[in-house]
Assembly symmetry: none
Homo-oligomer: 217 residues x 4
Amino acid sequence: MSNDIFETILAQGLTKAKTDKQKKIIETTITLFAEKGYANTSTAEIAKIAGVSEGTIFKHYGTKDKLLLSVILPFVKDFFPSMAKEVLSETSKKATSFEQFLRELLKDRIAFIKENKEIFQVVVKEVIYKDELKQELFAHFKEYGLPLWGNIAEKFKEDRESIHLPTDRIFKLLSSIFGGTFIVRFVLMDNFDISDDEIEDIVQLTMNGLRSKEFRK
Amino acid sequence: MSNDIFETILAQGLTKAKTDKQKKIIETTITLFAEKGYANTSTAEIAKIAGVSEGTIFKHYGTKDKLLLSVILPFVKDFFPSMAKEVLSETSKKATSFEQFLRELLKDRIAFIKENKEIFQVVVKEVIYKDELKQELFAHFKEYGLPLWGNIAEKFKEDRESIHLPTDRIFKLLSSIFGGTFIVRFVLMDNFDISDDEIEDIVQLTMNGLRSKEFRK
Amino acid sequence: MSNDIFETILAQGLTKAKTDKQKKIIETTITLFAEKGYANTSTAEIAKIAGVSEGTIFKHYGTKDKLLLSVILPFVKDFFPSMAKEVLSETSKKATSFEQFLRELLKDRIAFIKENKEIFQVVVKEVIYKDELKQELFAHFKEYGLPLWGNIAEKFKEDRESIHLPTDRIFKLLSSIFGGTFIVRFVLMDNFDISDDEIEDIVQLTMNGLRSKEFRK
Amino acid sequence: MSNDIFETILAQGLTKAKTDKQKKIIETTITLFAEKGYANTSTAEIAKIAGVSEGTIFKHYGTKDKLLLSVILPFVKDFFPSMAKEVLSETSKKATSFEQFLRELLKDRIAFIKENKEIFQVVVKEVIYKDELKQELFAHFKEYGLPLWGNIAEKFKEDRESIHLPTDRIFKLLSSIFGGTFIVRFVLMDNFDISDDEIEDIVQLTMNGLRSKEFRK
DNA sequence: GATGAATGAGGATTCATTCAT
DNA sequence: CATGAATGAATCCTCATTCAT
């Protein structure tokens, strides 16, 4: 499962026109992997529910493993760039405060995850076991997340809005809090009903927490 | 996997004097399940590494599933009670502030997890897939966590130290933040090196965040 | 795989004008079957390397088995007749001795095999497994080989050059020695570099061996 | 399939006490592989005919490939050493002539092959496809065959019995003739009825052939 | 004539589990 | 108690073959 394979699979996924059967396979795969996990889902079951023969699955995806990647990689490749886009978009540029920005970003990412509930669950569940996937994910995280964060941190620091912490410590805190929250809620508890009020609570707690002057030096 | 089975296994685990072979089996099981997950670990592999025959494993634990429970349940049954004990202990009673209490609790739980790294990973990884386990865990969480929280919240609220939020919203926030942080760090990133400084950051952010008067009504 | 099919395939092979794709298919088939054997070569692989679709192969040859025959039969049908032609040709008629004849025949057959290296390998490798093919081959051997041998034996016996053995025993000996040598060298060792000196050694040994008066009665 | 694996398999084959089922598996495997070849024999068929479950086969031999080796290697490891033993044995030492020696050796090897008809067929048929096996076989051939040949050639050369050829050319000729004869008769024609008279013919032809003074320089 | 998507039967292999010793 | 041989259902995967376009 080298990086080349990652690229290959992604390229195929994007270029090849998908037949109805292929779409059905992917849908079924996502649903089953999200519900029971990769290891507990047999290709026979996928085939049966998708209404195709097992042969068809392997004709198109070669390997159960590559089928998994065909499901996961497009999401991963989309999650961070689309986040970047959001961050750099007009709306976020117009955000008058870091708090406002945080609120919008959170809402946006939650909306994105809600649109891809099952894939998000698949990604989290499988990243735990597949090291290459984990590396791939972190690579994206660093490629997109860190520079963006640099931008943002810089921009709003000038606004003297906040925050008496080094940006790397802020970043670490926010990553833990938001990442952890997402995983606990959306994967562990399988609960995507998150109200605006709750989001607001998180934003408030975070912002208030960051704004304080009381941090250890 | 009914609740009765849970009780039976637990009873056995506590009463039966474990032979050397049994100990070796459990150790090996924990290590392998933590590393590769339940579904990706065969009983044959466990037997080989533990230096026993496959027959022996099934003689003692009957089922691969019951073997898993023999590993997980004692930990789960211990995590919350020992937390409760900590909360109610002299030291925490003497905590002069909610912040102080939070700091001690966090450190204590992290220490506990560090002592049981692999089991913690096994529990988290399997809770994702096994609904009965998830229910069992939540049951414990509610049985021990909520009442304790009631105590604590009440106690320190009287101290008027903080916090202008309803306790249930506080509880939800703290659960997400701490639970999420634990899972991301200890399972996803498989990294147990968490410094006191980092803990302090979390505590500060949380406390500062909670203390604010600015929350939405 | 009845004899009728043999005839049909052969007829098709000879009459039908072969398209470029068909030629490519046959070439690829020969190469792959020679290298890895019939059973270890998939039609998918042939299609891919030949640059055609799997459908095309089956359109033309109907069956993997018939594809094999399309490769093998023309060679078999050619090997013995062309040998007969050689035997009866002017040059061999002019051979002044049995030894001379043997030398020329050997060289000629080796040249023929060298020109059809891969097909020779395919034929030998598959004859081992397919009984119908084996029968077909022996049939040809007997149809062409034996009568020719009669001619030759008769002709040179009159020359009283040699040989104090019944012709059938000579035939059996020569068949084993030459057939065996070809198979060991060209198939087992996959080595077609056979020098004239080596051929000469074989001829000498054979002739010297046959000429002796010392054979058992 | 490295050489280590060869050693491992051989070691297991020699040490492990074989159960009745294991013996039955090996017997069935030999018969089927000899008849239809490795690639055309399914493990399911072996299991069915051997009267065991497929699981049992894989429990003991791990892989279809290792099953093949478990059948082939002991034969190969035995064929050449037992030949060496024969060559060096008292009887052959007493052989008064090279011809006598050749006669005895041939008879002995043919007897050995007759006792292991099917295995001999399996070995020849699979050596064609498996390169590692081919190397292994040649390695044995060189390890045992060449030095022995040295001994023999030297010994009987002194007897001035023969032979006006360099020993390496003699060796090459004899290898081709005898090896080829064995393969054609025992594998291609699946015919093990070889009379003493025929053996005598081969010996005579060979010896007469070698003795001649007429070889090219 | 050519394609390639689709098939389903069959292939090697794994695995939890049982049981006689 | 402990062993390990034996099982057979299930798993991933391959392949020759068909057929609609």
